[in-house]
Symmetry: C2
Subunit: 296 residues, 2 copies
């Protein structure tokens, strides 16, 4: 898939598992087309590739799933975070990859700290999806951009091959997966499938449709519980906006980022602790919330 | 997972591949809790199970994917369709399974015609998802309800086990998968991510979000092409409504089922042939469209 000069997807002839001696070899093969930065990509095209090469204290690598930290704000000597990261430039490129469902090449270097670190050089490890992104305080106390990258191979999806010819006809990528639990079914019923933001219940013609959205996400690294107090009933549009951090919810159910207030239903009480976790996920810690609230 | 008396999901202790001598044994094991009908389920709870036992001339079985025909309207002697089917009762139950992301047990009988037919009796073949539903003219000329059932095992998803205890914490089902192609990216750009129904572009905070919707669906049995003329740019809410057949589009871009008209963008021309295919998928053939148009 070629798009505006970007090389998105696999590079023809290069199998996952291929080892490269150094950054120059990676560059020449087209796998990671820069010699310094960890991310290749732009806000316009999305990200091509990332290199996991250690250094970011906030990265977490489980192999099939990587919690990746954005670039910027780091002291070159100590490697510590000394300033906030923003979703700009290459950090924004990874958000575009998520929004457009584009795959990202992942490379692990020998300097990386994880269960899948190669003994030497750099190993191309195939295509990953950006399934989630957020911005929270890192261990050094500054805001960092974070991403959940998930191995496409572990999902048995087709791999697009990067050629200079049109993409195969059946090629598709996954833009969005909406997961549901028994608990979300209950919460949706309490709200009669009405969105807690806009109040609409999507009438499909054979019953109303809504989605359960976990406030503190399930799974690593958030590990939120699947309980009613951690769920919202949202229409697909507001679910997308919630997933992308477009709005947050204060403890009194007023909204940050959108007008209005969270709608409630008898028997359903979203927990303040989960709402606070979500705000922190998106860089609104207690101090920030107070100061922003004061400036409204 | 137990919900209002319905037994949704796997039956504890019964592995996919288990053979049952007859419908009575299936019934007693709880796998398919009726002796006659092909579908067990209600509009309230969703479907529990379906039996593929031949007879429906419109069924198509590819193993991992089944195009299943609803019940009703069939002559008991000849097995031919003699009246229209509606999304009511058990036929509606399968729509609820889709809408709520619930798994359905699939059983194949020896009378069934397909590559996976058991030599004798009935074989429980595990859990499937209802990934799509529509209503079109069957081979006998009457409307039939149709469903695409997809094998969950082929997707490597967890299987929920039907026990009388709470579901495991991490249990989730897939409610909705949005797939994207290189072509849909282009169509979304032509529309600047504005929905062709409501005109809104969802602003995520890091760029606009929209989804590409194929008019004539990709894949079996529709086999629509991945081309711009077969795509719409929709917001998630209108994509769900489109998927559920809530509205159709006439050749002049007026809408059936919703007020308004399809929005256009220079360089993007949805093809009349694909729009007509979609209307037929939902039971609006040429005659129906004319008569409904006349009655508006």
């Amino acid at each position: 898939m070629s798009s505006g000069g970007a090389m998105i997807g696999e590079i023809a002839g290069i199998q996952p598992g291929t080892i490269f001696a150094n950054r120059r070899e990676l560059y020449d093969a087209g796998v990671h087309r820069t010699l310094q930065a960890g991310i290749v990509g732009t806000e316009r095209t999305g990200a091509e590739s990332v290199v996991l090469s250690g250094g970011y204290v906030d990265d977490e690598d489980q192999g099939y799933e990587v919690i990746y930290t954005g670039r910027g704000g780091r002291d070159q000597k100590t490697g510590r975070q000394v300033a906030d990261q923003e979703f700009e430039g290459q950090n924004a490129a990874l958000v575009v990859s998520r929004r457009e469902g584009l795959p990202v090449r992942v490379v692990r270097g020998a300097g990386h700290d994880g269960p899948n670190t190669p003994e030497r050089g750099f190993r191309y490890d195939g295509l990953y999806w950006v399934e989630d992104h957020w911005r929270e305080r890192g261990r050094d106390g500054f805001f960092v951009c974070r991403y959940r990258l998930v191995d496409r191979a572990s999902r048995n999806e087709e791999y697009p091959v990067n050629k200079q010819e049109p993409a195969p006809r059946r090629l598709s990528t996954i833009l969005r997966i909406v997961r549901d639990t028994g608990m979300s079914k209950q919460v949706k019923a309490l709200h009669k499938h009405r969105c807690q933001i806009c109040g609409e219940a999507l009438e499909t013609g054979t019953g109303p449709y809504a989605e359960g959205a976990h406030i503190r996400p399930l799974g690593n690294p958030h590990n939120g519980p699947d309980e009613a107090a951690n769920l919202l009933c949202l229409c697909p549009n507001h679910h997308v906006l919630f997933d992308y951090g477009r709005f947050q919810i204060n403890d009194d159910f007023s909204l940050l980022g959108l007008a209005g207030k969270l709608r409630t239903a008898p028997g359903h009480n979203p927990a303040a602790a989960h709402l606070a976790y979500r705000r922190r996920m998106w860089g609104f810690d207690e101090q920030t919330v107070s100061s922003r609230a004061a400036s409204r």
